[in-house]
Amino acid sequence: MTPGTLLLLAAVSLVAGIACGPRFSRLWLALTLVGVSATLGAALLVLGGAANWEWRSQFNIAGEALHFRLDALSALFLVLLSVVGGTGAVYAREYWPDEDHPGTAPRGRVWWCGLLLSMGLLLVSSNGLHFLIAWELFTVCSYFLIALDRQKREARAGGWLFLVSSHAGTLCLFAFFGTLAARTGSWDLGPMREQAGLAPLFWLVLIGFGVKAGVFPLHIWLPSAHANAPSHVSAIMSGVALKMGIYGIVRFSGWLPVPAAAGWVVIGLGAISALFGIVFALAQNDLKRLLAYCSVENIGIILVGMGAALLGADHDNALWGRLALAGVLLHVWNHGAFKTLLFFGAGSVLHATDTREMSRLGGLWRRMSWTAGLFALGAIAVSGLPPLNGFVSEWLLYLGLFDAAASRNPSSWVVLPVAIMLAMAGAVALAAFSKACAVVFLGAPRTQAAEQAHECGMLMRGSMLVTAAICFFLGVAPVLFWPAISRAVAVWNPAWAAPKPPAPLINLGLAQMILVVVACASGAWLWRKARANGLQRRLTWDCGYAKPSARMQYTSGSFAGIVSGWFAWLLQPEQQMRRPRGPLPASASRVERIPETVLERVIAPVGNVIMRVSAIARRLQHGRLQAYILYVVVGLLGLGILVFLGGRL
């Protein structure tokens, strides 16, 4: 079958999924799975070397002929969409079933198919107007999924914030596509690198898509939307929806000429997003908020590579740009895989204990060993540690940066601070995820809810296993995925085509595989040795304290204390402390809240000023007819004077 027929099949089954979603949940699941498998097939055909698929029709929508195109770059994102879409649908069937959510589950199924369809449309459409329509549909579907649980105030507020900030970004995109169409005379999209006059449009692209991607100062909608949405929605939002922003930036920086400063700005934004995003993540006490901020970090890593690729393309097509771009595109897959896994894990914890507050959990490994193990795997991957996939893409990216430094090109000095910031971000990520794993899964249960947790069922476990397997295979056999990545790189810049994987990547894959085998073997051996020597279970050493309790364990806030102290200027933590007083203190407490610094300290005050000015302006509109007549008379008088002076003032 050709990619075209497969995509048609996918579209038909997803539309059928929308139609039968409200009533027939089993049929809906089957149709969604058929749809995503067909999409996956089409994308893999193109990534596997089949010719690009292009289809023009005489059929008009909004006055423009339909024009679809599937090349390796779209296919790369389509693969991610279908994998996360499929596993998320399976997960949702157990996580958000009709029995528990009779009102919202049917709606959720409809919007899920709608979201998949609109994102698919976005990725293949090659007409500016249709791209905008798909983009708008995608935003609306995401909004309804985020606010699915609309009985909860936070979910409504998170959805609303998402809708508003998305539309602020869409405004830039309207300006971008409109100007592009006006300059070129057609809404058709395609490579147009030679028209140098289009370069300044890149800034509109960067802001418009940057809002959706969640680049640091534009990320304000991201934490609350991700935290309050149902977990399968958080997974697809973080794993795929953010990548649509990245897709836009990659796509249009490949098709259009870019200004000379683009690489510098993108790499700088990326480095800031990476470091600040992960610092915020470490300071969070809410598990899903932590994961959300970690997405800001990963988007930053992706943008660093993108910036390096732009710089490389600028500097006589330096080949380190290719490594960085390959790292970026691989990281798009990797982040999709491990963040989906982590959100599924967080959802499983939420399902079992009804709380996202990490300091109310603890000791879950005993009752939820599958979730604990898989979450740990995701944590190793997301911290960029060998032998899993996060390390491979970060390694490619670092290799690009180091090659740029070694080339000693006078203007590649920017990679020095960027590489250092990335390394620090990596170390903070390790701290953040050792905290998340430890506080949630290790130690003793801190509350009754944590004590009575239960493991998730087969469907949720199955979707976690699939994403974990992807993380594993991308980690130990990166060579297998290289041809696909290099085809996508060649779409961005044909001069960088490289069908053969670079030699060090083969070595790295080998080293990772050896590491997996040896680590598993030696872990098992040490466990056997310990058992053979004799195991005894005793209480944890407590310094002879008479009444240790589970609440004396290190909490999420105390674990992050050192680093949030260093970054207090950024995090601006708010503390409420009631110190113990007197010889027999009755009670004492200390509550710390990490505000959304950008939203609460920058956007909200500016918004307040605007509201206040508007309130003053509103005083003119009070409903008294006499005054309105006075306005009209004054206006007419003014116009009359203007005419009397001959239009000159």
């Binding site: 020095l416 390394a423 290790l442 944890t540």
Partner: protein
């Protein structure tokens, strides 16, 4: 076949030589204090004893409590095997293996912290939090040092990038890396391996609940890490490439010995820093490495 033999010899070398270093440090400290001190081979005896002992597990601990140290040891050993041994080079060198080394050390840190947090003890939580937090600054210093070497040699492979650095840059790099070595290996002035007051420690407090073979693996891993950092420092600074292989090995061994004695001297002459000063010293190490990197960037073409 040759590669395989080579690998076995290297593993044996690291296995057997690593526990010597803490012995030397302790001997130096004893001499400085006018004591006789424990024998140089004390750690070997301890390890052999621990390996035969039974294990006491916390009631809260999962199998990760035992598996974590094993994975950490494998990661440290893997990092050690990536390091070239002077004229003998590496077994498996490739472009970018330097980054693998740094991230293997990070993996070891993750596993140690995980195993420490298994017990749910606030002491170990404290130690793990300190370990992962201070590592952020140490990581920044290490990556600047690596960038400095990379700029100087134009290479990203350990085999070729550990060439002698020249002049001021080498001095700065040596000072920076030495401070990082002290921090990463939990020596004075960052940590005191001898103290028994849990509240003041980083690394020792993380292993408070470990016993028997897992503790042996942790102690051996720590000694591998110490040897790894000392050898890295010696190779990054000492100009051995023009010497004959035998002489080069002797010079490198002498370099490692000097570093070890230096650690012992620092430990005898300095007190442990207050915790709020630790970030300052690490930031100093970071700045030293950054200046070395800037000198390399401004210096002559490679």
């Amino acid at each position: 076949m040759i590669v395989f033999l080579n690998l076995i010899c290297r593993i044996a070398l690291w296995l057997l030589l690593a526990p010597l270093l803490p012995g030397i440090i302790n001997k130096v400290k004893a001499w400085m204090a006018g004591r006789r001190g424990p024998p140089v081979f004390q750690l070997y005896y301890d390890l052999a004893r621990l390996w035969r002992k039974s294990v006491v597990l916390s009631t809260l601990a999962s199998p990760g409590f035992v598996v974590g140290p094993a994975v950490a040891w494998v990661a440290l050993m893997g990092g050690a095997l990536l390091l070239p041994l002077g004229p003998a080079g590496t077994v498996m060198g490739f472009r970018g293996d330097m980054l693998l080394l740094i991230y293997l050390l990070a993996l070891a840190r993750f596993c140690t912290a995980w195993a420490a947090l298994e017990t749910g003890s606030p002491f170990e939580g404290m130690g793990a939090a300190r370990e992962v937090s201070y590592a952020i600054l140490a990581e920044a210093a290490v990556i600047s040092a690596v960038l400095s070497l990379c700029i100087q040699t134009g290479s990203t492979s350990l085999d070729t990038m550990l060439r002698p650095t020249n002049g001021t840059s080498a001095v700065l790099l040596a000072a920076g890396l030495f401070i990082v070595l002290l921090a990463e290996n939990c020596r004075v002035p960052f940590d005191d391996p001898n103290t028994h007051l849990e509240l003041t420690m980083i690394h020792e407090v993380m292993v408070l609940d470990h016993s028997g073979p897992p503790l042996a693996v942790i102690l051996h891993g720590a000694s591998i890490k110490l040897l790894l950092f000392s050898l890295l420092l010696a190779e990054a600074v000492l100009p051995v490439e023009n010497l004959s292989p035998a002489l080069a090995v002797v010079v490198l061994a002498a370099g490692v010995f000097v570093v070890t004695v230096g650690v012992g001297l620092v430990e005898s002459l300095l007190a442990r820093l207050a915790f709020r000063r630790v970030p300052l010293l690490l930031a100093t190490a970071f700045l030293l490495c950054v200046f070395s990197m800037l000198i390399a960037w401004k210096g002559g073409t490679p």
